[in-house]
């Protein structure tokens, strides 16, 4: 054994490029580009106005530099804000999707032909700036569930979009959210009507393909009173030497007695061993438990991206509402992650649970940053936070920044934190029982992440376990 650190890293498996004719808007950002995007999406005037308002705000904002990550300046004028594969403007059925796109998603394990469907999962497949296919729309419509690209929802369900878009993450919320509000291209829209338990898992797969572009998707999920929906997103991108920006916004709204379970498996290209290339994943995700007894649960498994900056949070407005955050974040090579959550307690007897598992290997830097805020009116609020860090090797780092702001004396707060290191003794113990060193590391890491994996839908828990094995393969020798 050559010591921890030695193995060769398994190459990123999703780094291929699809050779497809694309329509790419020249790089640069100004009001004309925003007008062009809006026109391409055939948007109503209110939508364009909202975008422009966001853009004008963005111009006055500056990029945040408080996260514990380092990267060179981003030239926002060098990015193309719209890229779409050329295909027939309106698809009558999924059979008309360009076979190259179908193949691309198939290669990623995301079948978009319904006959090859993932059982029990409806998929919206987003390729660069557009949604290329959404499966099971008709099936879902029988239950009154709307699941479609957000660009389509802007046209067809303007009332809902107008009411909720920006209601959780305002157009000027932060630098990257404002940028997204100005230029967002596609993403998913979900509405689950009163009392409906969505019969399928909904999922969106985001694929960046074109170079020198950014992906700015926007997702809006509304769970009406007494409804339930489980939603999963996955993502990947080609291997390239330059960095690409991904600045998404996700908004969730849960009304009285509604539940939203949102799971993410993030596998953007992380860059190479020397830290060349990779995705800048600067994302704003927030859910509002607007109604009484509502519940929003975020589960994320983050293995990709050169830099991750995201804090999926919950605003617990309704009395007795519940917010949960379960996270596994892996940084290997020279990846950097500054991630965590914000739980804002407004309503009475609101409860939140935070379980964060950070794994650092190689020269990776992993930061947990979390805020728990108990407001004055949040009588009887409770929070439980647990932040565990695991180090593999001695050149990586783990950092924890928990912020706690309590303004009501009836609040009960618990915080636990631990840092552990996979050592040679642990690996030796497992090898002495017959396991290979790869299997030993995988077993130790999976055990460490168990509390989070058990929150994932079954099929995805398997995927997450596998993915974690791949990203850490080679980090221990």
């Amino acid at each position: 054994m050559t010591g921890i650190e030695a193995h060769v890293q398994q190459p990123y498996k999703y780094g291929f490029v699809t050779d497809i004719e694309s329509e790419v808007v020249p790089p640069g950002l100004n009001e004309d580009v925003i007008r062009l995007i809006s026109a391409k999406k055939q948007e109503p005037a209110w939508m364009l106005e909202w975008r422009l308002k966001a853009y004008r705000n963005w111009l006055k904002m500056s990029e945040p530099h408080w996260p514990n990550v380092k990267y060179g300046p981003i030239d926002y004028q060098a990015i193309s804000y719209y890229a779409a594969p050329k295909q027939r403007p309106k698809l009558e059925s999924l059979d008309q999707v360009d076979p190259k796109l179908v193949q691309t998603f198939e290669k990623l394990g995301i079948p978009i032909e319904e006959q090859k469907r993932l059982s029990g999962v409806a998929v919206d497949a987003v390729f660069d700036s557009v949604s290329v296919a959404t499966t099971f729309q008709a099936e879902l419509a029988k239950y009154g569930v709307i699941f479609m690209p957000i660009s389509q929802a802007v046209r067809e369900h303007a009332d809902l979009v107008q009411k909720y878009l920006g209601s959780v993450v305002p157009h000027n919320d932060n630098f990257f959210a404002a940028l997204n509000s100005a230029v967002f291209t596609d993403g998913s829209f979900v509405y689950v009507p009163k009392g409906v338990r969505c019969p399928l898992e909904l999922s969106t797969y985001f694929r960046i393909n074109a170079s020198a572009t950014g992906q700015f998707e926007r997702t809006l999920i509304i769970a009406d009173e007494g409804s339930y929906v489980s939603y999963l997103e996955g993502c990947s991108a080609p291997m390239r030497d330059e960095n690409q920006l991904h600045a998404a916004v996700v908004e969730l709204v849960a009304l009285d007695n509604a539940q939203i379970k949102y799971s993410t498996i993030q596998n953007w290209y992380p860059g190479d061993e020397e830290g060349r290339g990779g995705i800048y994943n600067f994302v704003t995700k927030r859910g509002k438990c607007a109604g009484r007894n509502s519940k929003i649960s975020w589960t994320q498994v983050e293995t990709g991206s050169a830099i991750t900056w995201k804090y999926p949070g919950c605003i617990l407005q309704g009395d007795n509402s519940i917010g949960e955050f379960y996270s596994v974040a892996v940084t290997s090579h020279r990846q950097q992650a500054d991630t965590g959550t914000k739980m804002i307690h407004l309503g009475k007897n609101t409860r939140s649970t935070i379980v964060s598992k950070g794994i650092s290997a190689g020269r990776g830097q992993n930061t947990y940053r979390g805020l728990v805020k108990i407001m004055k009116g949040a009588e009887g609020a409770r929070n439980y936070s647990q932040c565990d860090s695991m180090l593999i090797g001695d050149k990586c780092g783990a950092h924890t920044f928990p912020y706690i702001d309590v303004r009501n004396s009836t609040a009960i707060m618990e915080h636990e934190a631990s840092t552990s290191k996979i050592g040679e003794d642990q690996i030796f113990y497992l090898r002495q029982r017959g396991l290979s060193s790869e299997d030993a590391v995988s077993m130790i890491v999976n055990g460490f992440c168990k509390e989070v994996f058990k929150e994932l839908p079954m099929e995805f828990a398997v995927e997450a376990t596998r993915l974690l094995g791949i990203s850490l393969e080679g980090s221990v020798g």
Binding site: M1, G3, E424, D425, Q426, F428, Y429, L430, R431, Q432, R433, G434, L435, S436, S437, D439, M443, I444, N446, G447, F448, C449, K450, E451
Partner: protein, 257 residues
């Protein structure tokens, strides 16, 4: 000794850790089905010998050979040794969070079975095997669904090592100070289980500081290690003599014998 087939043969083994030579030329021969005890004062190199035989990467072999079942043991990775039937019951078993004992043990057993050309066991078949093994040593399954060694008492950890031994069915079981930290009842329980596991093909190398474990597990041979060398070998009576006279007696006089 000539009656049994040789299983382990250590010759002139010299081992260093972090640049310090700990074993300074150790010889040891064990036949199939034999139980040998290695005794010696603290720092004599007993645990080093156990760790080196299992392949711990922190120990550097400077010289010597180790033949195991006709193979050059030192050529094999730790997992290859394990799969070939070398088992080390650790003095300090590690904890593995979030992984149940039964999941871990099944993974280990399947790795060993694969090497023996046997089919892997699914969880249900494994449960049956496990029940048989538990029955044989007279233990219950209360530890099986707890995370590996996490929150285990010292005694539970040692018992867990013996349980793994029972399930993995090694040919050479090395017990590294399995008796340390055990009260007399726990010691008896562990010793009885070990006695159940003795058979004509399985050899035990029992590393211990004290003679008391040998009251319950009767060795065929006792070796005394001092300052990195075997200074005396003999029958079970040697252990009693050590108990009565202490190690200093050997340190001064026995080198010449």
């Amino acid at each position: 000794m000539a009656k049994t087939k040789a299983l382990l043969e250590v010759k002139g083994l010299r081992v260093a850790v972090a640049g310090n030579e700990i074993l300074k030329g150790v010889d040891l021969a064990m036949g199939e089905g034999e139980v040998h005890a290695i005794m010696g004062p603290n720092g004599s190199g007993k645990s080093t010998l156990a760790q080196v035989l299992a392949g711990h990467p922190a120990y550097a072999v400077l010289a010597g050979t180790v033949r195991y079942d006709g193979k050059d043991l030192l050529e094999l990775d730790p997992e290859e040794r394990a799969r070939a039937g070398v088992f080390l019951a650790f003095q300090y078993p590690v904890e593995i969070r979030g992984i149940t004992n039964s999941y871990f043990l099944r993974a280990a057993l399947n790795a060993v079975r694969k090497n023996r050309g046997q089919p892997e066991l699914d969880p249900i078949d494994f449960l049956q095997v496990l029940e048989e093994k538990l029955k044989a040593i007279g233990w219950d399954d209360s530890m099986m669904n707890r995370p590996v060694n996490e929150g285990f008492s010292g005694g539970e950890k040692k018992r867990n090592e013996i349980l793994q031994l029972a399930v993995l069915e090694p040919r050479l079981a090395i017990l590294d100070e399995t008796d340390s930290g055990l009260d007399i009842d726990a010691l008896k329980t562990v010793a009885e289980a070990v006695n159940q596991l003795r058979n004509a093909e399985r050899s035990f190398l029992i590393v211990t500081h004290y003679q008391r474990l040998l009251n319950y597990i009767k060795p065929d041979m006792v070796h005394v290690l001092a300052d990195g060398r075997m200074v005396r070998s003999g029958g079970p009576e040697l252990a009693l003599e050590l108990e009565a006279r202490g190690y200093d007696w050997l340190r001064d006089g026995a080198m010449v014998s």
